[in-house]
């Protein structure tokens, strides 16, 4: 008799962390973090300032080693400039006279980390930049100086810049900050469309869950070295957040929004 072991289709999770810890001197940002982010999953990373949200992004970008534990992205150790990762930063004022056009900004996301002046493969590069610009509806201002675009337009370009390399994982670090509601909506829609169409995993660092609440599969909530992972309905509750913050915290549902009310500002509850 021939025994055939049925091959289970094992797709490596987009991001996997085991026993991950980051320490700066005496201070532990987070300890023993186990986290799997599946392809196409939308994970919101929440927590007060200084809880290590941005540090998590830096670890995944390969800019900071773990103090302990293991991290894998698409089955491999994170490394700087990895093409499998796209990064969307928060909106920041740019000099209006900066000699850089929208399409240059997007193009730098594709090959800005490579050596040389980029003479080879210009045609393919142009096609990819054009496609990325079109996918965020940014073709109209592809030739405008980036510093003269509105914050919303700049963030669209940021999404195109992150997507142009066709990443498997999208790391977003407060990309909605300082945008008005309409532009927040545009940016979250673009990111959501990407993960649905391409199964791209999204780690979305934010201090405000409401703009992304309908998209979130799970929440990673970090407070002072403690954390909870789970669907919003399990994590965003008065009981869980009170335990995390170590103080009385109320989570209220007002229509389709969550309002988190802390006992006082001292604990840095941020909603």
């Amino acid at each position: 008799m021939v025994v055939t072991l049925e091959r289970v289709p094992t797709v490596a999770p987009a991001v996997a962390m085991r026993g991950a810890s980051v320490r700066f001197g005496e201070r532990t940002l987070w300890d023993d973090l186990d986290l799997d982010v599946a392809r196409g999953e939308f994970l919101a990373v929440l927590g007060p300032n200084g809880s290590g949200k941005t540090t998590l992004i830096r670890v995944l970008l390969g800019l900071l080693p773990l103090s302990r534990g293991e991290v894998r992205i698409g089955g491999a150790a994170p490394r700087r400039g990895s093409p499998t990762i796209g990064y969307v930063p928060q909106q920041k004022a740019l000099d209006p006279d900066l000699p850089l056009r929208g399409r240059d900004l997007v193009g730098l996301g594709l090959d800005g980390h490579r050596l040389g002046v980029g003479l080879r493969g210009r045609r393919e590069r142009r096609a990819r930049v054009d496609a990325a610009l079109a996918s965020v509806g940014g073709t109209a201002y592809a030739h405008s100086p980036v510093g003269r675009l509105s914050g919303g337009e700049q963030q669209r370009l940021r999404v195109a810049q992150a997507l142009v390399g066709d990443p498997d994982v999208l790391l977003c670090d407060e990309p909605l900050l300082s945008l008005d509601l309409a532009h927040q909506r545009t940016v979250t829609d673009l990111i959501d469309a990407r993960r649905r169409d391409h199964d791209t995993a999204v780690l979305f660092v934010t201090h405000e869950i409401n703009p992304v609440l309908p998209l979130v599969d799970r929440v990673l909530y970090l407070v002072d070295g403690r954390f909870r992972i789970g669907p919003p309905s399990e994590v965003m509750t008065s009981a869980v957040l009170s335990e995390l913050y170590g103080t009385e915290v109320d989570v209220l549902r007002v229509r389709d929004r969550l309002v988190v009310v802390g006992a006082d500002g001292r604990n840095g509850v941020h909603h």
């Binding site: 240059d104 996301g109 800005g112 980390h113 050596l115």
Partner: protein, 280 residues
């Protein structure tokens, strides 16, 4: 007016060896200064370039005093300045005060050393305001070697430099060594500044290192087009200024600075008119 603009005997002057050396030097300088200018403008480094130039002056003065080549001293001073600014002040706000402090100290030191120098007076003045008669064949070789070096480094590092200069946060996230690149760039700027100091003088280096890039940034946002325009403008200012200065026998730096300024003003006016046309 007649003293400022004259073309009498220009033909004979252009036939002279030292004049030709000077024009070649200006042309070479224009290429490297123009190539760096848009990146300098993107990085907001105008003040750093000025500080670097003043320290090139200090280095040149020191070299004059101890009797080694002025050019060598200028290069040493400018490169040290570039590194000091690069290491001490990476944040814009801090950088400005660091430059101010170091610049003032270097300038004072240079003045002191020039006062102690007992050689030809024109050597002293030349460092501050530049002089094209100062370029000899040996200088030309140094200039050419440094220019080739600078262009070669730019050719290899251009993309990451552009990334780090225009979009540093994302460049860091993408693994670009932004800190190391800012040091490399400071050294490039130091080298080119040191080459410019003997020709246009320490106090007017900005007219070839900044003005062409600032002018180009007014009329285009494309990094490539900006670089081409900046090189063209630097050539017009340097070579044009040198030719204009020949017959009147006045310092080249005044003409170079004036041409660079006119180009800048012209670009601003052009950008404004175009902006109005686009709105209308």
């Amino acid at each position: 007016m007649d003293r400022l603009f004259g073309f009498e005997g220009l033909g004979e002057l252009l036939a002279l060896g030292f004049v030709q050396n000077a024009l070649i030097a200006c042309a070479v300088l224009g290429v490297v200064a123009g190539a760096l200018a848009p990146l300098i403008v993107s990085r907001g480094m105008a003040f750093a370039v000025h500080g670097t130039a003043e320290l090139a002056f200090t280095g040149g003065a020191a070299a004059l005093l101890i009797g080694v080549g002025v050019g060598l001293g200028a290069v040493a001073g400018a490169v040290v300045a570039g590194l000091v600014f690069g290491i001490l002040g990476l944040r814009q706000r801090e950088r400005d005060s660091v430059i101010g402090v170091v610049l003032a100290f270097g300038l004072g030191l240079g003045v002191l050393m020039l006062s102690l120098y007992s050689g030809r007076a024109s050597n002293r003045f030349g460092l501050l305001t530049g002089s094209i008669v100062s370029v000899d064949s040996a200088d030309l070789i140094v200039l050419a070697v440094v220019a080739v070096l600078v262009i070669a480094v730019l050719a290899v590092l251009y993309r990451p430099l552009l990334f780090a200069s225009t979009d540093p946060d994302v460049a860091v996230a993408r693994g670009v060594p932004v800190r190391a690149l800012s040091l490399v760039f400071a050294v490039l700027v130091g080298l080119v500044t040191a080459l410019a100091v003997p020709i246009v003088g320490a106090i007017l280096v900005l007219s070839v290192m900044i003005a062409p890039g600032a002018a180009a940034a007014r009329v285009t946002a494309s990094p490539l087009v900006a670089t081409v325009i900046a090189v063209a403008f630097a050539e017009i200012a340097l070579v044009g200024g040198a030719i204009l200065s020949l017959a009147p026998g006045l310092p080249v730096s005044g003409y170079v600075a004036a041409l660079a300024f006119l180009l800048y003003v012209g670009c601003r006016v052009f950008a404004r008119l175009r902006g109005r046309a686009a709105v209308a």
